[in-house]
């Protein structure tokens, strides 16, 4: 019947050996290609260190890590990078302030609270936010946001405060109103008047803050606040999607168990799910922050690139300079194999080590979380 089909079921010794050999080679070949990422990583470290070393050999570590004087192109160059580290730190912290509360709230609500239909709309929003290239964000920060801040800074700040504070105050009042003791709550007029007083107080507090901010004149639109805002927006998609995954990974059993004990949805979330997903949420924050640390274009274009620690140190309205922007901006002017060239590699090395450590921490956190849920 099937003439073409070889009926012999066994293989010759030689064929077995051949097959084993081919399989072995194939697998090793695949392994080699997979190892490309390892090799790349090693090469990156090697080449960055190689070009950073001459700087440290020549100048030592002390000045680089302790001084705030960054004048690499002066006649007597100074290479104190502290103000640059501080700029990166400030910008990153600022972006986290914007992105973390919003991102975590959005993630938790997306996975547990909001109706399914709305979620279908939100996913594309997050994807779009993630897809927009960093240079486009930088363009927005420099060309649209910066002039706006410079010319209408007070207005912008105060309306931002209104936008954020009013809903927050609304929620606080709402929760506060219903957590009044039952005795008061049952006396309608008293409760209502208390509520009104609360609203009035909240209104005046917000108005006072907003008015104060309204009076502020922003000298330069390219400043920490601008960059932090944009970086925060850029970090949002990462935070939301990773945190949402973590929250979703908690599984139905946990939720149903909590509901079965009579917990409300909010209680379930605050007391059960968020603690269970805390590792993943942590990882989300770390990854989001890492995006802000490593981002180049936005900070280069819109941070003002001033290598000084702002006065006072918390002044978010003054320009700063970050590691990434220094590398991008100065490399074009640094002649090869000069100290000015090598110091930029030293900056890159610092950046690389920093992100490497953060990454290791996040991987550790994620793995621990996985084990916790997988037990």
């Amino acid at each position: 019947m099937n003439n073409q089909i070889d009926q012999k079921l066994t293989m010759s010794q030689r064929k077995i050996k051949m097959e084993k050999f081919i399989n072995f080679c194939g697998e090793k070949f695949l392994l080699c290609i997979t190892a490309l990422s390892l090799i790349t990583l090693l090469f990156i470290f090697f080449f960055i260190i190689k070009d950073a070393l001459p700087f440290f050999q020549d100048q030592g570590f002390k000045e680089f890590f302790t001084s705030t004087h960054w004048y690499p192109s002066a006649a007597e160059p100074e290479y104190g990078a502290v103000s640059i580290f501080y700029g990166t730190f400030m910008v990153t912290l600022g972006s986290a302030v914007f992105a973390v509360p919003l991102g975590i709230t959005a993630a938790v609500c997306l996975s547990d609270v909001l109706p399914f239909k709305l979620r279908q709309f939100v996913k594309p929003i997050i994807e779009l936010l993630a897809a927009i290239p960093s240079v486009a964000y930088g363009f927005f920060a420099l060309v649209i946001l910066a002039p706006l801040m410079q010319n209408h800074g007070g207005l912008l700040l105060s309306s931002m405060i209104w936008l954020i504070m009013v809903p927050t105050a609304g929620i606080i009042l709402y929760v506060g109103y219903f957590s009044l003791p039952d005795k008061i709550l049952h006396k309608k007029p008293l409760a209502l008047s208390l509520g009104l007083v609360g609203i009035a107080i909240a209104f005046f507090i917000i108005k006072a803050i907003a008015d104060k901010l309204y009076g502020i004149q922003i000298d330069s639109g390219t400043n920490t606040l601008n960059v932090s805002l944009i970086l925060g927006i850029m970090a949002l998609p990462t935070i939301v999607s990773v945190a949402e995954d973590a929250v979703q990974a908690c599984g139905r059993e946990l939720r149903e168990g909590s509901y079965a004990l009579g917990a409300t949805r909010a209680e379930t979330m605050v007391k059960t799910i968020i603690p269970a997903a805390s590792g993943g949420i942590m990882a989300a924050i770390i990854l989001g922050v890492m995006r802000a640390v490593g981002e180049t274009m936005v900070v280069w274009m819109a941070s003002g690139n001033t290598g000084r620690i702002p006065e006072p140190w918390y002044n978010v309205l003054s320009p700063v300079r970050t590691m990434t922007a220094s590398i991008a901006g100065d490399m074009g002017e640094a002649a090869r194999n000069t100290n000015r060239y090598h110091v930029l590699f030293a900056l890159a090395l610092t950046l690389l080590v920093l992100t490497f450590v953060i990454n290791l921490i996040s991987q550790y956190v994620v793995n621990r979380q996985r084990k916790k849920l997988g037990k």
Binding site: N2, Q4, L9, T10, M11
Partner: protein, 265 residues
């Protein structure tokens, strides 16, 4: 062909033994899923393996064409003899073995390809490239699986567009296309509705004219309806292996009787 001496030797309808196993065990890591079972499948008969979930019946079936190789921690001991050769012998060509011992799985697992490509997958693996020949094989297999009339007009449509029952018959046809000797079926109707189940059962009865069929099922009525021989397994042991009539009317072991009368499992 086999010269193996079985613990419980019997001859069914004077048919020769097609495949036999002796003291055969399967381990998943430390766990012994099949515990030193012995038996034989005569040619051109339907043998049903029944037993409660987790009794090792699927494991035994899947080790017949070495599908358990896909699970890294799985290893075996004892012998499994097919055509005088130990299936687990060092020189066994697994690829050829699987072509000779076909398998139909629990859930219909048609590839996300056209119906034609699904059937032609096996023959193509064996190096048949000729279009006419492939056409012939496809038509023949589909006819054998009693599905040709339903699909002949849409051979080049995605197979996943068919109903579950059709898909399962397609999988059967796909297994038949490589012209195996033995057909292993792992609960082939568990995911199907009664009507589709009946169709598959009819098919099995027709196919046993040509093939040796081993079917794992947890549906005792099904086993009684279609099989000639029945093996009852419990906790990795083969409790009883006899003609279906005997098992279902006069089992010799107490456990078998209890299972068949529905007292456990």
């Amino acid at each position: 062909m086999s010269t193996q001496k079985l613990t419980k030797d019997f001859i069914f309808d004077n048919k020769k033994t097609h495949l036999s196993f002796k003291d055969f065990s399967v381990y998943y890591g430390d766990f012994q899923a099949v515990k030193g079972v012995s038996g034989a499948f005569p040619e051109k008969t339907v043998t049903a393996i029944i037993g409660p979930s987790g009794c090792g019946k699927s494991t035994l079936l899947r080790s017949i064409n070495r599908m358990n190789d896909l699970i890294p921690v799985c290893h075996t001991s004892g012998s499994m003899i097919y055509e005088g050769l130990d299936i687990y012998g060092e020189r066994m060509d697994v690829v050829k073995l699987r072509q000779r011992i076909g398998m139909v799985f629990q859930k219909p697992n048609a590839f996300p390809k056209s119906i034609f490509d699904n059937i032609a997958y096996g023959p193509r693996l064996m190096g048949i490239k000729n279009k006419a020949e492939l056409n012939e094989i496809v038509e023949k297999s589909l006819t054998q699986a009693a599905i040709w009339d339903e699909v002949k007009d849409r051979l080049h449509k995605n197979a996943l567009g068919m109903s579950g029952g059709q898909q399962q018959r397609l999988c059967l046809a796909r297994a038949l296309a490589v012209e195996p000797d033995i057909l292993l079926m792992d609960e082939p109707t568990s995911a199907l509705d009664p009507k589709a189940t009946a169709k598959i059962e009819d098919l099995i009865c027709e196919l046993k004219e040509k093939y040796t069929i081993v079917i794992v099922t947890h549906n005792m009525q099904q086993a009684a309806r279609i099989s000639d021989l029945t093996a009852f397994m419990y906790e990795g042991n083969m409790v009883e292996f006899d003609t279906t009539d005997k098992i279902f009317t006069n089992p010799s072991m107490k456990q078998t009787e209890e299972y068949i009368t529905g007292r456990f499992g």
